[in-house]
């Protein structure tokens, strides 16, 4: 029999596995998220559902009583669903061909397939008009050869088309990864038991890859549902995001309709992501064994091979058309009612470097600061979650990740509403200070940086830190000498990802920028694209932004890859 002893009371910090400075950092992280993510969203919800007599659904009822808003709501759902469908038509066959067959140049195609991700849809929208529009390249050729035109870009079609072309890589990448993670033995066991061909695919491969598809498809749905820039540039205003923007900018930040729309967008985003998570619960199909091979690749034969070639070529040409278009636009003199621009020039690039160095400088400043904040917040949250027993650490993580489901326009409206009445010393509203744009960027991109940091820290076996403590290093010394150097790659990758993607944020930029002197590149592209004369310089600016993002994406990929290789050699 042991003697009954009350459990010893230990100091809190000790029980939480924390040091004092780390606790201070945790408080800072919590405060930041509360002030700049939770509070703005709560304010938006509050205005939408709060009347003079407390809680009310009056605003929502008013919203749905107006036919324009009903139509906008249905249009947004329709566009998002159709974009998922069209993106699937491109991505699913592409992923299947690349993962399951010996296809020449598969790596190159995979890389080309990811390119659309580095350009936000609004940049390519105008170029898409010139290629696919009523009097664009394709329809001019079609009517010349066959005497008819196809309304690719008419009304909602245009939004669906542009969005699908930009977001299909989310499905392609997720599905490819899911297919690649299926262990060859899964398929072999099925074959061993007599399954082959279509039945093998339907019963074994498809169910195993389904979680990857659902993850990608739900992301596409949310992104399309939230997008503001594309419909605005295509002059489609009868959708939710443009309506919210127009109400706030024309009627003012007191108008409840904008908030109702914002609330609907949050609810839809959360619901789409929640449904995806729910349907994937308990389906972690990482079946890949250590050292095991992926799915067996087979040879493409005869007709199938020709069909695959035709599909891949057409899909890639279509997917890259916005990029080709924007490049042509940035280099062309006049491009209107013609298959290609009339002549070529570099004058547009000269124009933007002469007229708008401020845009470039602002972008570097804002995105650099935002990415820096993200790395600090992301690194800290990752550490708290994976290495400490700080109470509420998971709440920090969930809140930070939840900003994925908060559309940029909603966050911007919330920040405007929350911080408009707080005045800076010079009399301007705090909400219009450029620092708030940095904070909005940081909040919006935090999930990416956090993912990167979590992945990096997970790779570091806990025993590496324990070994340091065992040899006499305290918490701080262990963090500085072991954790930080080993996480450096992940932190850098997170920084670059945040930086690059923040550089092309439009929806919150449009709402939060109030002076031209404060505007970043994305704002500049939007303003230039508004006028026919500005399209050339706008496209040049867009190309510049794409180059920045592409370089960033490439660098972050290289860093992550090098990190992974270095580590895998070690184990």
């Amino acid at each position: 029999m042991s003697v009954l002893v009350l459990p010893r009371r230990r100091p809190l910090l000790d029980r939480w596995n924390l040091s004092g400075p780390q606790l201070a950092l945790a408080a800072f992280v919590a405060l930041f998220l509360a002030l700049f993510l939770v509070l703005p969203v709560v304010r938006v919800m509050g205005v939408a559902f709060y009347g003079p007599d407390g809680f009310t659904t009056q605003n929502v009822e008013d919203f749905f009583a107006t036919s324009l808003f009903r139509e906008s709501f249905l249009n947004s759902v329709y566009v998002a669903a159709m974009a998922v469908l069209l993106a699937s038509v491109i991505a699913v066959p592409l992923a299947t061909i690349l993962a399951r067959y010996d296809y020449p140049g598969a790596g190159l195609i995979q890389a080309l397939g990811a390119i659309p991700l580095v350009m936000p849809p609004f940049v390519g929208a105008v170029a898409m008009q010139l290629i696919w529009g009523r009097n664009g390249t394709v329809n001019l050729l079609l009517s010349e050869a066959f005497g008819f035109k196809i309304p690719f870009m008419e009304g909602l079609n245009g939004v669906i088309f542009v969005e699908a072309l930009h977001y299909f890589p989310f499905i392609l990448l997720n599905l490819s990864a899911a297919l690649a993670n299926i262990d060859g033995s899964m398929e072999e066991a099925g074959q061993n038991l007599g399954a082959s061909g279509w039945s093998l695919f339907r019963k074994i491969v498809f169910p195993l890859a389904l979680p990857g598809y659902v993850a990608g498809a739900s992301l596409v749905f949310v992104k399309v549902f939230d997008d503001l820039g594309t419909p605005l540039l295509l002059n489609v205003t009868n959708m939710l995001a443009p309506q919210a923007y127009l109400r706030i900018t024309s009627v003012g930040i007191g108008d409840p309709v904008g908030y109702v729309i914002a609330a609907i967008m949050v609810v839809f985003s959360l619901a789409a992501m929640g449904l995806a998570t729910l349907s994937l619960r308990g389906k972690d199909y990482a079946t890949q064994q250590r050292g095991g091979g992926g799915l067996g690749r087979r040879k493409l034969g005869g007709d199938l091979k020709i069909a695959a070639h035709v599909f891949v070529v057409i899909a890639l040409l279509v997917a890259l058309s916005p990029h080709i278009g924007i490049l042509l636009l940035s280099l062309g003199t006049i491009w209107s009612y013609s298959v290609l621009p009339d002549a070529y020039t570099t004058a547009h690039y000269a124009t933007i470097f002469r007229e708008s160095p401020q845009l470039i400088a602002n972008t570097v400043l804002y995105c650099g600061l935002a990415a820096g904040i993200d790395v600090i917040l992301g690194g800290a949250i990752a550490y708290f979650v994976l290495r400490t027993r700080l109470p509420g650490r998971n709440v920090l993580q969930y809140v930070a990740m939840a900003s994925l489901a908060v559309p940029g326009i909603v966050l911007a409206i919330g920040i405007l509403r929350t911080y408009y009445d707080i005045k800076l010393p010079d009399g301007r509203a705090l909400a219009t200070f450029w620092g708030m744009l940095v904070i909005a960027y940081a909040v919006r991109r935090l999930p990416y940086a956090l993912q990167s940091c979590l992945a990096a820290l997970r790779q570091i076996h806990g025993s590496l830190e324990e070994a340091a403590e065992n040899l006499g290093a305290g918490k701080i010394a262990t963090f500085r000498r072991i954790v930080l150097p080993l996480m450096a790659g992940g932190l850098l990758a997170g920084f670059v990802t945040s930086f690059a993607t923040a550089a092309v944020e439009l929806s919150d930029t449009l709402l939060l920028v109030t002076r031209e002197a404060d505007a970043p590149i994305s704002y500049g592209v939007y303003v230039y694209m508004q006028s026919p004369a500005g399209r050339g310089p706008g496209a040049a600016l867009g190309v510049l932004a794409v180059v920045v993002v592409a370089l960033g994406a490439w660098a972050s990929h290289r860093i992550a890859e090098r990190d992974r290789r270095r580590r895998s050699r070690e184990t």
Partner: protein, 361 residues
């Protein structure tokens, strides 16, 4: 590396759990200074957790841990001066071998020159002086193991803790490293606790073993004591093949006698009466040889194990496992052959208690 490791370890009334789940219960044990002690047990028995508690990774819910005269229960890991070698080695990939080994000395704020000297000495001790500037990734498994050892030994720990140190090595290397660890331990006279699930490893190295199961110590003793005199059925079956014959200990002609099925009577030395089991190792049963208790049976199975032949013999007591030394050139017994088994009561061990309740198994 001189002044290290002459402290013993004492654990008293230790319990530890994650939430409601009890991982370790009522652990009491003492490791003598300079002793090579093994925690042996199946996976999930709590042996690694116990080792990690000694290193300070986790705090016990109850109980105290002492090293020498000092109570270390409340010290953080970095103030305990116990050296731990991790199962995964935990070599830091961003540092060279020399930097890995120097780490603990730098944390102790030693002068640069002294650090360099001690690192060189430690690397020489494990025979890796020429690889000081390599990165862990460039080393073989055995070399990584040595570096992990050097990194720990260089801080002159009071106790050396080894967590399944050989599990990542191939069979041949495992034997080499086992001998190497034993040589270092004996040479330095270092108090050592070694966690393993491999009974052969524990038998070959340890002075004493604590056998754990389900978070409790089942028995502590020398390897031979555990094998010959198991305290319960778990200990008997965990340490190699055994025939467990269930029966009762009764008073017969004024002395304790084990009475089993089929009229088996074996005189035993015990003060207790009641249900018990007789543990007979396969080699304690002779075929067609002497022994005061005799038993007839028929061979129903045969395995050739190299030095021995293992027979399954059907008897009135059920099927028994019997090992017979194999002599080269002699034709072994065939399946179906009738044999006479002899039991030497002196080589039988009595396991007290009824079958289901005893010893937690």
């Amino acid at each position: 590396m001189t002044a290290q490791g002459k402290s013993g370890v004492e654990i008293k009334g230790l319990s530890f759990g994650y939430g409601a789940e009890l991982v370790l219960a009522e652990i009491d044990l003492t490791v003598a200074p300079g002793e090579f002690f093994a925690f042996l047990g199946p996976s999930g028995s709590g042996k690694s957790t116990l080792l990690r508690l000694i290193a300070g990774f986790g705090r016990p819910d109850q109980g105290r841990i002492r090293i020498g005269a000092e109570d270390i229960t409340d010290l953080p890991p970095w103030e305990r001066r116990v050296g731990m070698v991790f199962q995964s080695y935990a070599l830091w990939p961003h540092m060279t071998v020399a930097e890995n080994v120097a780490f603990g000395l730098e944390e102790r704020r030693l002068a640069k020159a002294e650090i360099a000297e001690r690192v060189a000495k430690a690397l020489d001790l494990i025979g890796l002086g020429s690889l000081a500037e390599r990165r862990p990734a460039q080393l073989s498994g055995g070399q990584q193991q040595r570096v992990a050892l050097a990194r720990t030994l260089v801080i002159e720990p009071r106790v050396l803790l080894l967590d399944e140190p050989l599990s990542n090595l191939d069979a041949k290397l495992r034997l080499e490293m086992r001998a190497e660890i034993l040589r270092l331990q004996r040479g330095l006279g270092l108090t050592t606790i070694y966690v393993t699930h491999d009974q052969e490893e524990a038998n070959a190295t340890a002075d004493r073993i604590a056998l754990l199961d389900r978070g409790r110590i089942q028995q502590i003793g020398s390897p031979i004591a555990l094998y010959d005199r198991p305290a319960n059925r778990f200990v008997a079956t965990f340490l190699g093949a055994v025939n467990l014959i269930e029966g009762d200990v009764v008073e017969l002609h004024g002395r304790a006698t084990f009475v089993g099925p089929g009229g088996l009577h074996v005189p035993v030395e015990t003060a207790e009466r009641g249900p018990a089991a007789l543990a007979l190792r396969p080699q304690a049963l002779g075929v067609d040889a002497g022994g005061s208790v005799r038993l007839s049976g028929r061979i129903v199975a045969r395995e050739y194990l190299g030095a021995t032949l293992r027979f399954g013999v059907a008897t009135d007591l059920g099927e028994l496992i019997v090992d017979v030394a194999h002599r080269p050139g002699r034709a072994p017994l065939e399946i179906g052959a009738a044999v006479e088994l002899g039991i030497d009561p002196a080589s039988a061990a009595l396991v007290p208690g009824a079958a289901l309740s005893a010893g937690g198994r």
